[in-house]
Every structure is written in C-alpha cells, then in structure tokens.
Amino acid sequence: MFKPVVWILCLAPLGFLIYDGFTDNLTANPIEKVTNTTGIWTLRLIVATLAITPLRGLTGVNPLVNYRRLLGLFAFFYGSIHFIIYVVTTFFVGGFSEFDASGLGADLVKRPYITAGFTAFVLMIPLAVTSTTGWIRRLGGKRWNLLHRLVYITALAGVLHYFWKVKLDATYPVYYGLAVALFLGIRVWIAYSKTQLRKS
C-alpha cells in the first residue's frame, strides 16, 4: 500500500537530476555529476534490498518483502543509466562515429575498479530478468532464492568499485562496506542459529 510512496522516493534522485539540468546546476562537469549520482543511488538501493530480510526477521513485519523487487529494479535502473553513460561518454571519442572498443575492453580487464563495477552490474541482469512472478514460478522458490543470492556479490563488488575509485578519502565507501557487512552478517548469524536449533 506504500508502493506509490516508494516509487516517488526512488524516482526522486532522477527528478532532481533533471531539475538541476534545466536550471544549469549540474556543475561544470554534468556528465561526472550524473554518473556519480546514479552510481551512488544504485549502491544505496542495493543496500536497501539487502536490508529487507534482516528487517523482516527483527520486526516481524513480513509485508516488507513486497517492496524488495521494486527497490531491486530501481537499483538496476540507476545502474543501467550509470553504465550506459560511462560507456557512451568514455569510449565514443569525438562523436558517435568512432567507438574505442579496445579501450573499453582494456578498461574492463585492466582496471580493478571498472572490473568490480562491471561485475556488479552484469550480475544484476539475470536478477532483473527473473524478477517477475512468472519466473519465480518457473524456477521454483528454492532455485530462485539461490540465483538471487547473486545480489550479495553485486553488493560486495559495488562497494569495492566505489572504494577503488576514490582518490583520497575512503570514508563513505567504508560506510557502505560496513552496511553490507552488517546485513550479510545478520544472514549468516540467522543461518548459524538455525543449525544450532536443529542440533539441539
């Protein structure tokens, strides 16, 4: 029932970017600004999806799970914009006629922060594709759940991507790393407690 609110909140960052574009407030380097903003919102939304399961466990508010798909798809939405801008504005040199494919290839392989970011993005694709109810039915709950654990790798790779990108001050990447570690840690702890219960 809060879905419209979640939609509005998730679209707000894009809305602000468009507004800033109209009012000439995207700094002297608008491409960098849009790239950074869409990148950070991708990571925030991934962390938000990771937070749902632990929150459900702690609060017992099970309907929270209804928002997970929406948050995940918005993470993919911002991640796609982020990735497309990076490719288009980095490897088309001087116009759409010259594409530096070898430059893109070299970037993906040689630069750890790009490799990490690309990994994070690519692993979101199967998750986005199989996010529909139809795919959950086709795969079956168990297999679907297993597949969607790929988001753990996306989250960790996303944090690494951010951490390796910053030049000096790694404070924020570390915060995101701690958030991911916390939400993954809770899962481990819950799984461990369950095995202990079964033993006793």
Partner: protein, 323 residues
C-alpha cells in the same frame, strides 16, 4: 634550444573578450534551439552559457595585457566553469568546495619567501612581484590527471622573469614551491587529506621555459581565491597538479624535490607528470579526456599539444619510467 610558436595559432591577435562572449551568446541560442529538440529541454547542460554576468564585479581588473603568441584560439571555458570546479584540497575535497569556502583566504597582504641556491634570497611582497614584468594574457589548455580539461585565459608573466631576479647559482638544478599553511585561511588543512604544505617542483630548464607562466590572474582579473590567489604556477604541458597554487615559498635546490602527489602515491603520480596519452594512470586511461562543456571525449595530445615547444626538454628520457 629552439622555441617554436604554438602550432594551432591562426592569428596573432586574440578576439577581445566582449566580442567573444557575444559570439557564445549567439551560439548558445542557436545551439539550444537544436539541442532542446533532442534532449527535451536539457539545453543548459550541453550548451555554453553566457559568462559576462557571472564574473566578479568586485575583483581587481588587470589592464593593458599583452597578447601572447603561445595562446590557443580554442573556445574558452566559462568563468563559472573555471571558478566552480577546482581541485584545491586546502578548501575541501569536493570540486565545488574551493568556490564555496575559499573566501577565508587573504591574498593581501602576501609575501613570497625566496631561499636556497641563489644570490638574492629574501621576502618579496605581491604588489612588487606583480610589477616585475609586463602582464600577458595566455590562453592555455589545462589537462587534469583525472582526464578532464579546460581552456583558461590566464594572466601572468613568464616564470623565468621571476626566477632570474633572484640570481640562481649553478647549484640550482631544481626549484621547489610551497603553498601556504594556515588552518584559519585554509580550513581544509585541519584534515590530514594531504601532507601539508602542498609541495611542487620543476627542473630548472622546465621552470625557465618560455611556456611556464607565473599565474597572477584569469579572465583579465586578479586570481580568484579558489584558483590559487594571489600567485601560482601554470605549466600547460603537465597535469594540473604540477601548477601549484597560493605560493609562499620558492627554494632553489640541487636535488629533485618530492612533490606532494608523488609522496602520497608514487605508483600513480610522478615528478614530471607530463601529459602523455601513451602512459595510462593505473586506474584510468590518459588517452582521452573530457573537455568541460563537451559531451564526447576528445583525444589527449602528447604534452597537452605543446610538444613542438617542450618535447626537446625530455630528449632521451624514458617517459614511461619518468611519468
């Protein structure tokens, strides 16, 4: 040493600023009509905006500027771009920080201490320094190590005119520069982001090269604080971090100074830091760059396009090792 004129110069005279700005207004209107259709009104993002109104009416104007044959005739970046997008960690790590917070810097009174291997060490004040040679306008490309670039109409005079006055001795092989340290004027220095003071250095032949400018202003005005007021270097064939800002100390030395970024991360930043599209930064390509205001990248030029004038300085050196 043969000093050639800038290869891309087509006329000895640079268009006056007023005419130039009107041209941009025309382009902005013409351009945004086309772009508005394509981007549904996001025109301001990708077209040049008029700059005349954005300049600082309170700033001291610098008159009777000599035109320089070294100037490029490429499209200037706006005053707003140049003064709101700065790497000047003394005022914060975000590029918008210096524009917001550098008002705490007091560029007057200001003196520069000169020391080391020279005949006339001492402290010299900025009013005198400004008068030591005729001021020129030099329109240079600025290439940041982070792969963005601008075109800036600097004001200043050749660094050689400045350094010669102190009569460097034969032992002066390098010259080292230091930025002010004062946490009240430069609040970013309360954080240990870099090892303060910021230090840079040039080999003597680089420092004496006619392209190397002692920067005292831009857009016909004294330097805005965020751009390194009141006195800085402009070394157009090197990555921007070599062009140290707000200088208070100049020292003639025998050995290669350890510049701040090299000290910070020597695998990524070297002493020479010549713009070189063939030697990538470990984390990104240096083969192309984003000129601020343009959507697509452009190819980065060897020595930032100043190779005709400076390549001979590095004859026989392995630029892959001496990055």
């Amino acid at each position: 040493m043969l000093i050639k004129r800038a290869a891309d110069l087509r006329e000895s005279d640079v268009t006056p600023k007023e005419t130039f700005l009107r041209r941009r207004e025309f382009l902005a209107v013409a351009g945004s009509t086309a772009v508005a259709v394509a981007t549904n009104g996001l025109g301001p993002v990708f077209t040049a905006t008029p700059t005349a109104a954005a300049q600082n009416p309170a700033a001291q104007k610098l008159a009777n500027l000599k035109k320089s044959p070294f100037s490029t005739d490429e499209k200037l970046n706006s005053y707003k771009d140049i003064t709101t997008y700065n790497n000047f960690y003394e005022f914060g790590l975000d590029k918008a920080d210096p524009g917001k917070y550098a008002h705490t810097l007091k560029p007057k009174p200001w003196s520069v201490v000169v020391e080391g291997q020279c005949g006339k060490p001492g402290a010299y004040n900025i009013e005198d320094i400004m008068k030591w040679a005729p001021l020129e306008e030099r329109i240079y490309r600025l290439r940041c190590v982070e792969a963005w670039s601008m075109v800036v109409p600097w004001v200043g005079y050749p660094l050689s005119e400045f350094l010669k006055r102190f009569e460097p001795t034969s032992k002066a092989k390098y010259v080292e520069f230091k930025t002010l340290v004062d946490t009240r004027q430069m609040p970013g220095q309360t954080e240990p982001a870099l090892n303060w003071p910021y230090v840079e250095g040039l080999r003597m032949d680089e420092a004496m090269h006619p392209l190397t400018l002692l920067g005292l202003g831009l857009y016909g005005e004294v330097l805005p604080n965020q751009n390194g007021a009141p006195i800085r270097l402009v070394v157009p064939w090197k990555y921007g971090f070599k062009s140290i800002k707000s200088i208070v100390r100049v020292r003639f030395v025998e050995t290669e100074p350890i510049n701040t970024w090299k000290q910070q991360q020597s695998s990524e930043y070297g002493f020479f830091a010549n713009v070189n599209p063939q030697v990538d930064h470990p984390r990104w390509t240096q083969g192309s760059e984003r000129r601020l205001g343009e959507f697509f990248r452009r190819k980065t030029l060897m020595f930032n396009g100043y190779g005709d004038q400076v390549a001979s300085l590095y004859a026989g050196m392995d630029l892959r090792k001496n990055y």
